[in-house]
């Protein structure tokens, strides 16, 4: 019971279509790991493979150190929360909770005790006699969680459990799930296409795209050091700005040229085999109004095509002199109005460089790690 979930060299094919080939994933004991990826990338399929609902084409799945690749879903030591709850509508809350215990022939008095405990833990004590149809969305969600908990599984699988809730309830249930994990220290494999859930809930996040994990790491890691262009643009909203650029060595520095813009980066710390043609990325919140405080800075002249005032922030859609679109996120009531030109700047430490294969070759944050003073750029 001390190994969480392991997916080893798992391949899944539907006919000729390979959904994923030889993928590996290790959810540590007590860890909350979130798989995030676009719709249709195979998240649910991977989940169903771990649950035993879908067979693997090849590979191995272990739960709590036990090989369960060919075990029945009920014998894997997992509890699962489904996207649409999938409660049994004809049974009371009690009946829903007891169903799995009865299937395993747990003695009656033990069942009664566990129902009472679970009901109390989830605040469902007064709802035990009701049918799912008589419950609110949040209560149904809790029953679904209770049904997974009551058999005290070695690991939990949750497939987009919040995706059908309205916005306010989703925030509340997100908090409840995080609290649930803190309390139980359970191993959780959680699937979502929602980046906010991924960033806020996961101890670690695994980004699944086109049949492979583009990156597995802590939310901070993935946000600050995205391994690929896909990860960089999938997480973060509005998405990261990406501009094409060419690289030329220039004395102790490296010169990046993108249209009529030029950046100078210290060569130190950059990979030696930096490709000639790269893409440069920076997030909207890294675009600031230029302040002339004497530090070296490379101005970005742009015109506001339109701005969205969201109350707590403003999203500015900019066009630079070569007509490229750049998005900036500024504090509310700051920056230029629609149609006005202005000058911006981006801290060098917030830049990301991606090679032609889409893989990251350098993150500006490495400079911060070196403890160097951070020159401005862009």
């Amino acid at each position: 019971m001390t190994d969480g979930i392991r997916v080893e060299q798992v391949t899944k094919r539907y006919g000729n279509q390979v959904l994923f080939a030889d993928i590996d994933l290790h959810v540590q004991d007590g860890e909350f790991l979130v798989i995030v990826g676009p719709s249709g990338c195979g998240k649910s399929t991977l989940m169903r493979i771990v649950a035993g609902i879908e067979p693997v084409s090849s590979g191995r799945v272990t739960v709590g150190g036990r090989d369960v690749t060919h075990a029945h879903p009920g014998d894997r030591g997992i509890g699962m929360v489904f996207q649409d709850y999938a409660l049994y509508p004809h049974l009371s809350v009690e009946g829903n909770l007891a169903f799995g215990l009865r299937a395993h022939h747990v003695p009656k008095d033990v069942i009664r005790q566990r129902i009472a405990d679970t009901g109390e833990a989830l605040g469902l004590t007064d709802q035990l006699k009701k049918r799912p149809g008589q419950l609110s969305g949040g209560q149904r969600q809790r029953v679904a969680l209770g049904r997974a908990m009551i058999r005290e599984p070695a690991a939990y699988l949750m497939d987009e459990p919040l995706s059908n809730l309205d916005a306010a309830l989703r925030v509340q249930m997100r908090a409840e799930l995080i609290e649930f994990h803190r309390r139980t220290k359970g191993t959780v494999l959680y699937v979502t296409h929602d980046q906010v859930e991924a960033m806020t809930m996961g101890d670690r996040v695994a980004v699944l795209n086109e049949g492979e994990f583009a990156q597995i790491g802590t939310p901070t890691d993935i946000y600050e050091r995205p391994a690929t262009v896909f990860v960089a643009t999938f997480l973060g909203s509005p998405r990261m700005n990406l501009l094409g650029a060419t690289v030329r060595p220039f004395e102790e520095e490296v010169e990046l040229t993108s249209g009529e813009l030029t950046w100078r980066l210290p060569r130190k710390g950059l990979p030696a085999d930096l490709p000639e043609s790269v893409r440069i990325g920076f997030r909207p919140e890294s675009v600031h109004m230029r302040v002339d405080d004497g530090t070296p800075a490379y101005p970005l002249a742009a015109t506001v095509s339109y701005r969205e005032n969201l109350g707590n922030e403003s999203i500015l859609h900019l066009r630079d002199s070569t007509g490229r679109a750049i998005v900036a996120r500024l504090p509310p009531r700051t920056g230029p109005r629609d149609g006005e030109p202005a000058t911006f700047q981006v801290p060098l430490a917030d830049l990301h460089l991606f090679g032609p294969d889409g893989r990251a070759c350098w993150h500006g944050i490495e400079l911060a790690a070196d403890g160097q003073p951070l020159p401005w750029s862009a």
Partner: protein, 269 residues
């Protein structure tokens, strides 16, 4: 709406009257005394309970009634069991040959009973089941219509719910009995009623397959009533009146179980 309401009421009353007229006429006829006058639409006396008493004690009528109840019940219960299992499997279980089996069911659906009657007769005669209860029950114990109806209904059971039950550790049999059957109840009751009524009214098959009077059912007996008692309209009508009671009882009994709005609330939407 306001103007339409009285009109609707009148139309409904007229419709109900039209439906009840034959029933009324039946009661009048069935109540006629032995030497009674059968003309007109009015009562000429009230001997309904005498007539019923005479039918129930005289002759073989109780036997026919019992045969009908037995056969219609056995057929409808067997049909429900088989339709439930087969329909659920065709809708929600993965197994080789499923598509082909479903096609077979649809083909069987398009065969009219008259087409298969002779082959079934020959088959039963081969195994010696003519003039037996099993010969009256077995040919109807599985119906393509029942299987198809349940299968269509079972497509509405969310696959995720069945997966949830599997993760809960339930066997396929347990899932069928504890999840599928309760959810399929409206469809199963429909099959039960349809099949019970079909068998209750079935004249042609007992006529072909049961020449022994011991095995006669009500439709057969009613159509041959004159054979036993001469043409005795008031007794025949009283017998017919008795014969509509069991389906009515069944209807009103099952009505309680047609819980409309058994929402599939375990799954959103």
């Amino acid at each position: 709406m306001r103007i339409g309401r009285p009109l609707t009421a009148v139309a409904l009353i007229g419709f109900v009257a039209l439906m009840l007229l034959p029933l009324y006429s039946m009661i009048v006829l069935a109540s006629a005394p032995d030497d009674g006058d059968l003309s007109g639409l009015g009562f000429h006396g009230f001997a309904l309970f005498d007539n019923i008493g005479q039918i129930m004690t005289d002759g073989r009528f109780p036997r026919y009634l019992m045969n009908s109840v037995l056969i219609a019940s056995a057929v409808s219960v067997l049909d429900v069991a088989i339709s439930a299992a087969a329909g659920y499997a065709l809708a929600r279980l993965r197994f080789p040959g499923r598509a082909a089996l479903l096609n077979l069911v649809v083909i069987a659906l398009s065969l009219t009973p008259a087409v298969v009657m002779i082959p079934v007769f020959v088959m039963l005669s081969e195994i010696g089941w003519l003039n037996s209860y099993q010969g009256l029950i077995a040919p109807f114990a599985a119906s393509a219509l029942g299987v198809f109806l349940v299968r269509q209904f079972a497509l509405g059971i969310p696959v995720q719910m069945l997966h949830a039950a599997r993760v809960d550790g339930a066997s396929e049999l347990r899932i069928f009995l504890r999840i599928a059957v309760p959810l399929l109840r409206p469809a199963l009751l429909t099959v039960l009623l349809l099949q019970f009524l079909a068998q209750w009214d079935n004249l042609i098959w007992p006529l072909i397959a049961a020449s022994e009077q011991e095995l006669w059912t009500l439709p057969l007996a009613l159509s041959s009533f004159e054979g036993e008692h001469g043409i005795v309209y008031h007794l025949q009508t009283a017998a017919a009146l008795i014969s509509i009671l069991p389906p009515l009882v069944l209807f009103s009994f099952l009505q309680r179980y047609y819980v409309s709005g058994l929402t599939l609330g375990g799954v959103k939407r």
